[in-house]
Amino acid sequence: MDIFLQQLINGIVLGSIYSLVALGYTLVYGIMGLINFAHGDIVMVGAMVTLTVARLLSDSGLPGPLVLGIGMLAAIPACMAVGYLIERIAYRPLRNAPRLAPLITAIGVSILLQNLAMMIWGREYLSFPQILPTQTMAVGGASISAIQILIVASSTIMMAGLSSLIRKTRLGNAMRATAQNPEVATLMGVNINAIVSITFVLGSALAAVAGMMVSAYYGIAHYDMGFILGLKAFTAAVLGGIGNIEGAMLGGLLLGIIESMGAGYLGTLTGGVMGSNYQDVFAFFVLILVLIFRPSGLLGERVGERP
């Protein structure tokens, strides 16, 4: 039972990170119908910036959480700037181009970001200084560390904040209007360019936080870490229903838990026929099942294709 609880905790922590990244995909997709494949690499930029700051400050004697906070304060604006620039330079000129063009551009931007990061930070695995306490608390036989609690708490707060921003504010109203019909939104006085920019900047800020969490949690950062993470988060977004904010959160959490349980119990359940090497296979198998029965994802609505 304690092992089951531990796997559940592992899954929730991993899932919270997936959710936060998946939100970035879903926000941009919801507003402009574009899959921003460079999103995972913005997470990487966030991780790298946090790591650089943490390394600079690790000997300063400041308390660990404060160092992490400063790192995050540096990473968020950096990622926001990267997100804004990507939208302005790579996507805006293609706003009215066929859908395939911005998709390919997104892959190009992803490769560009990876190579830039490789030039700046090198190609080695970078280790994150040990600034957070490593003691764990025992909860019902399972151990939880401070950083795990921090990850789940801060991603819950950010998701709740984003949710109410979209539902309750004028900005959120404008974003939803743009998502429904950009032309009509323009007629109603919504500045589409500004809304799209804000969407990218918001998504990038979430990515920065996710990057900070990943690097602090695993204690490692690498220039191509965004690729797999981005792919998993994109899967989570599709699982929950891409374009749907709650869907991204649910999809992320589910994927995290499925992966963790898959790795933990697949071997026992199949009597050793399938081991933890089928962890990813299992996660994608669930995705396929969901898409067969609910093609628009768990919480996605079937909507008419936008012209």
Partner: protein
């Protein structure tokens, strides 16, 4: 027609020149291909190997090389195989087409094995400084050699250490599903079982993974005396850290892929107490170790893992050429297979398969933040 004749003559001359691989100054060139991952997660180790080859080449060139009465110089052609079997075969073919005289590489077992067929077909001798998988020399190729102890010998020593020295009765194994990781894990599993230890779990990960909490938790439930990891430092470091964060206090044992300074950097304080083996003797016990460290660090900085071996591999190739009096692979290959020389890492000679004779294995533990050889 008469107009064409001088042109043809000129073209023939150019062709002849390129065949003889003559450089200006009438010096002949021995081309040695050095293949390792120079980009990606293992690039620090790949670069280390490449530097070993370059150090050997510089030394040979500085002291003046004469083969078959001709003054020669060694040229190193470095290729990046990205630790990827597919890329490995592409760069291997490229080196063969460029007419290399010998190969030092590849770094990984997973890349050395597919590439060895290409070198064998071309008849070009290949010495790997670091591929330890038993299958590498088990394919029956005459051109395939290694100067490093293989996984058979290493797995045996690791299992003996786990069961006899650490008295582990139950073990869990994790491997990264690469030719190297799987190979060493299987050897360890076989020998540990033979030594009386029970295997409670065999879990899998990949050589790009960063999250191991799920498989570690699963192992935690079975509470083995020891966790063995077959894979590289980029995974072993974070794995060790996550193990300790999960409150798992059992011994951690890795093989040569984990035994690097990088492992300690990545695992941080959690690295303390970890065990790992490395083929061969520790640097300070190698016959030429002290001089090598001085020369290497002056030029390239810290030694990662296998640069002494890539240095010896290069020396073995050139020595065989010297003794045969030829750089022609067909002529010096028979000499190489029965070579006897004193390398930096110890005496170099090969058995019938191309494995190093009397390969040593040393066990290490992280003590006070650095790898310390166990007696």
């Amino acid at each position: 027609m008469t107009m064409l004749r001088p042109l043809l003559a000129a073209m023939a001359a150019i062709l002849l020149c390129s065949c003889a691989k003559q450089k200006p100054g009438s010096e002949f060139v021995v081309r040695i291909g050095s293949v390792a991952p120079l980009t990606g997660p293992q690039s620090h180790l790949g670069k280390d190997n490449d530097n070993g080859v370059r150090l050997a080449a510089d030394e040979i060139n500085a002291s003046g090389l004469v083969i078959g009465g001709k003054k020669m110089s060694v040229e190193v052609l470095s290729e990046d195989d990205q630790a990827d079997p597919r890329t490995a075969t592409i760069v291997a073919q490229k080196l063969v087409d460029e007419g290399v005289n010998g190969i030092v590489g590849h770094f990984n077992s997973g890349t050395s094995i597919p590439a060895s067929r290409i070198y064998s077909d071309a008849g070009i001798p290949q010495i790997s400084p670091s591929a330890t998988a038993t299958t590498y020399t088990g394919q029956g190729f005459e051109t395939t050699f290694r100067v490093v102890t293989n996984d058979r010998q290493q797995g045996e020593a690791l299992a003996k250490f786990a069961t006899d020295t650490l008295h582990a009765r139950t073990v869990a194994i994790i491997d990264d599903r690469t030719a190297y990781g799987q190979g060493i894990a299987d050897e360890f599993e076989k020998d540990a079982k033979a030594g009386g230890a029970a295997l409670v779990a065999h879990e899998f990960t990949s050589d790009h993974a960063t999250d191991f909490t799920a498989i570690l938790t699963s192992i935690k439930g079975k509470n083995p005396d020891l966790v063995f990891y077959g894979g590289m430092d980029a995974q072993a470091g974070p794995m060790m850290k996550q193990m300790r964060n999960l409150g798992m206090k059992m011994a951690f044992l890795g093989a040569d892929g984990s035994k690097s300074p990088e492992f300690i950097k990545l695992a941080g304080t959690a690295a303390e107490g970890a065990y790992a083996s490395a083929p061969g003797l520790p640097l300070e016990k190698m016959p030429g170790g002290k001089a090598f460290v001085e020369k290497f660090t002056a030029k390239y900085g810290k030694i990662q893992l296998y640069s002494p071996y890539s240095f010896d591999a290069t020396m073995a190739l050139v020595n065989a050429m010297k003794q045969a009096g030829s750089v022609d692979p067909a002529r010096y290959l028979p000499v190489l297979s029965r070579i006897r020389m004193d390398g930096v890492t110890g005496p170099i000679s090969f058995d019938r398969k191309g494995d190093i004779l009397h390969g040593a294995v040393t066990l290490y533990q992280v003590r006070n933040g650095s790898w310390t050889a166990l007696p």
